[in-house]
Amino acid sequence: MATPLGLKELSKKEMLLTGGHRMCSGCGAPIVVKMALLAAEQPVIAANATGCLEVSTCISEYTAWKIPWIHNAFENAAATISGVETMYRSLKKQGKIDKDIKFIAFGGDGGTYDIGFQSLSGAMERGHDMLYICYDNGAYMNTGIQRSSATPFGADTTTCPAGSAIPGKLQHRKDLTKIMAAHGVPYVAQASPSHWSDLMKKVRKALETPGPKFMNIIAPCNRGWRSRTDDAILLSRIAVETCYWPLFEIENGVTRVTVKPKEKKPLVEFLKPQGRFKHLFAPENESLLQQAQTQVDAYWAALLKEEAFYALSAGSTEQ
C-alpha cells in the first residue's frame, strides 16, 4: 500500500536530502527536491546537472544525498541518467539485480531549457523509464543571475541588465513544458512548491507511469529575484494565482489544469515583490507591464481552451 500523501504520514518518512547542505537560506530548489523524494515510494537514484543544487549538496567529503546520486556535467543530466537506467535494465535482464528502482534527473532551467535541451530531448525520445525534474528559477543563478531562455519577459539579469536603452529581457520564456509534451511522452506536468499536495501527487503519478516523464517546477531564488529571503513559498503561490505559472498536467496527450485560482490576480502582484522587475514600474515602461500581462492572459486562456477541448472529446467518446 502506498503511503498516503498526507502531512501526518509524510512526516514519518525519512528526508532523503539532509539539512546542512549549502543552498542559500530561502531557496526554493531543495524544497522541490525534498517534496519529490518524499513522494517517491520506491528507491530512487538521481542525476544532477551542474548548478546551484549540485554544487551546494556535494562538496569534497560531504554529501547531502541519502540516495545514490551522480553529477556528471552541466548539459547532460538526462543522458547520464539514461545510462544509469539502461545499465539497470541490462543487469535486471541478466538476473543480477531484482529491486524496483526509479530514476530522476534534476536540473535548473539553464541546464534544462538551454544547454541540456538536446540531451533531454534525446532521452525523452528514446523512452527511458525516467523522470526529469526542472527546478525553474528563471536564470543562471549559480553563475550569478545571467539570462536564460526561461527568464521572464522584462526581468533584470546580469547579462540583460535593465538600462536606459534596454529595459531588461526583451523576449518571452521558452515554453519548455509544452515542448516536452510535444515529444509524445506519457506524462508532463507543471507544479509549484506552494501547492505541495498537487506537486507530490504529480511526482507520484509520474513515477508510477512507465517511460519518460517531465516535470517543470517553479523554484524561487531570492538572490536572483531580488525578493525577501522568506518569500519562496509566498511567491510561488502568487505565481500560480496570477496564472504566471499555471499548474497543469498532460497525461497521454490529455491536458488538465489541476489548480484553477478562484480569482485570477493581476500579474503585478507577482512582479511587485521582486527587485528584478522594479524598473517595469517606472512610468515609461508601462507598456512592458501590459505586454507581460497580455502574454500571461493569452497563455492561460489557451490552456483552458485546450483543457476544454479534451474534456469535450472525452465526453463525446463516452457517449
Binding site: 569534497s60 551522480i70 553529477h71 556528471n72 543522458a79 541490462s90 541478466q94 529491486k99
Partner: protein, 397 residues
C-alpha cells in the same frame, strides 16, 4: 603462430573490433554514427538485433550524450563500451576528463580521423593526439589484428582493480578500418574467460549503500585528486605487461609497451605509430640489405607513455627520425616527436633528432617517404649534421 582455438578470417579493422565487442559482450553501449567508425556499431547492433550479443544499446543523439550515457552506465555498475572518430571525440572531450576523473573503466574504439577544418573523413592522428592528456589509457594499433587484440586486452587493463581507468584503442581510419586483412579471431570462450566477470566498485545501483558521484572539490582537495590520478597512471604499464603475458597464452601473440623492429643493433631509427609502421618495416628491411643499420620503434601504450623504457630502447642510436601523423600547431614539433625527445632528455649523450609530418587527412604514406627518411638519417649519422629539423613530407610546395 596459429593457436588451438583460433580462426583465420579476412576482415576489415572495423569488423574485427565489432567482433571483439561481440565476444566481450558489454552490459551497455551508447553510440552515435561517425565516419569511419560507424561500421563498428552497425555491425555490433546487428549482433544485438540477432541475439548474438546481450548488450543494451543506447542510440543517442550526439557523441557528447554517448560518453555521458557511458559514464552513467559505468557508474551504475557494469561493463561499457563505445566507439567514435575525430569530431565525435572532440565533442566528447569534456566527458573524457569526467570519465577518467571519476575512474570509470569505459572502453572506446577510436578510429583515427583528421580533425576539421577543412572537413576530411580520412585517417590521421589529430583526434587521438588531441585527447592524449585527458587521463585515459591509449593503445595504438598497426593493423586489424592488433586492433582486435588491443580491444580484448583493453577491458582487462581498464577494469584492473589497481587502475579503474578508461581506455581508448586507436587504429587508422580507412587504411585499417576499411581494408580487408587476414587475421585470427580467438574462440568465444577463450575471450570470455580471458576478460572475466566485471567487478563493480561502488556501483550506483547498490541502493543499500548509496554513494555520491561527481562532487565539487575546490582548492582544498582538487590537487590531491589529480596527483592520485598521476600515481594511478604510473601503474598502468605493469598491468599492460601482465595482461599481455596472459593474452599470449591464449593467442600466441606477443605484446609489450611498444614494438621494436631490428632496433637492438641499429645505429639509426624511425619512430612511427600505427599503420605506417608496416610500410616503414619494409623500407627498414631494404636498407638492412644494403648494410645500413636501421631499426624502428612503434609505440603501443602511448598514454601513459613509458618514458623510461622508450628512452632506454632508443638511447644507443646516433640519429632518430620521428614521423608524426599530426602536428601540434605552435609547439614547434609534432606530438610524438615531443614525447620521444622527452624520453632522451635525461641522457648526456643522445641521438640527433628530426621530425617529419606525413599523411595528414589520409594523404598516402608511400615507401619512398620511409626510404627518403632512412637515407637522410644515414647521412645525418655520418656527418653529425641535421639539415632540416622539421618538415612536412608528401605535400605540395
Amino acid at each position: 603462430m596459429g593457436q588451438k582455438s583460433g580462426k583465420i578470417v579476412a576482415v576489415t579493422g572495423n569488423e574485427a573490433v565489432a567482433e571483439a565487442l561481440r565476444q566481450v559482450n558489454p552490459d551497455v553501449s551508447a553510440a552515435y554514427p561517425i565516419t569511419p567508425a560507424t561500421e563498428i556499431m552497425q555491425r555490433f547492433t546487428a549482433f544485438v538485433s540477432n541475439g548474438k550479443a546481450k548488450t543494451e544499446m543506447i542510440l543517442v543523439e550526439s557523441e557528447h550524450s554517448a560518453m555521458s550515457a557511458c559514464i552513467g552506465a559505468s557508474a551504475a555498475g557494469g561493463r561499457v563500451a563505445t566507439s567514435t572518430s575525430a569530431q565525435g571525440l572532440a565533442l566528447m572531450w569534456e566527458e573524457l576528463f569526467i570519465a577518467s576523473g571519476t575512474r570509470l573503466p569505459i572502453i572506446l574504439a577510436l578510429v583515427n580521423r583528421a580533425m576539421s577544418a577543412p572537413l576530411n573523413i580520412h585517417g590521421d592522428h589529430s583526434d587521438g593526439m588531441g585527447a592524449r592528456d585527458c587521463g585515459w589509457i591509449q593503445l595504438w594499433s598497426e593493423n586489424a589484428q592488433e586492433a582486435y587484440d588491443n580491444m580484448i586486452q583493453s577491458f582487462r587493463i581498464a577494469e584492473h582493480m589497481d587502475l579503474r581507468l578508461p581506455a581508448m584503442v586507436c587504429m587508422d581510419g580507412f587504411i585499417i578500418s576499411h581494408s580487408i586483412e587476414r587475421m585470427e579471431y580467438l574462440d568465444d570462450e577463450a575471450v570470455k574467460s580471458f576478460v572475466g566477470e566485471f567487478k563493480t566498485v561502488n556501483p550506483l545501483l547498490d541502493i543499500e549503500h548509496p554513494v555520491s558521484y561527481g562532487p565539487l572539490i575546490l582548492t582544498d582537495y582538487y590537487m590531491e585528486y589529480r596527483r592520485a590520478h598521476a600515481e594511478v597512471m604510473s601503474k598502468v604499464k605493469n598491468v599492460v605487461l601482465d595482461v599481455a603475458k596472459d593474452f599470449e597464452k591464449i593467442s600466441g601473440r606477443q605484446y609489450g609497451l611498444f614494438e621494436t623492429y631490428r632496433l637492438d643493433d641499429a645505429e639509426i631509427g624511425i619512430v612511427i605509430l600505427n599503420s605506417a609502421a608496416g610500410t616503414t618495416k619494409d623500407a627498414v628491411d631494404a636498407f638492412r640489405e644494403k648494410g645500413i643499420k636501421v631499426g624502428l620503434l612503434k609505440p603501443r601504450l602511448f598514454r601513459p607513455f613509458p618514458y623510461e623504457e622508450v628512452g632506454e630502447a632508443l638511447k644507443h642510436l646516433k640519429a632518430i627520425c620521428v614521423l608524426d601523423r599530426a602536428d601540434a600547431f605552435g609547439g614547434s614539433y609534432g606530438p610524438l616527436f615531443m614525447d620521444i625527445a622527452a624520453t632522451l632528455f635525461p641522457y648526456k649523450e643522445k641521438p640527433l633528432m628530426m621530425n617529419k609530418i606525413y599523411g595528414l587527412g589520409g594523404r598516402d604514406y608511400l615507401p619512398e617517404h620511409a626510404e627518403n627518411a632512412i637515407a637522410e638519417l644515414a647521412e645525418v649519422a655520418k656527418t653529425g649534421q641535421i639539415k632540416t629539423f622539421k618538415e612536412y613530407i608528401g605535400v605540395r610546395e
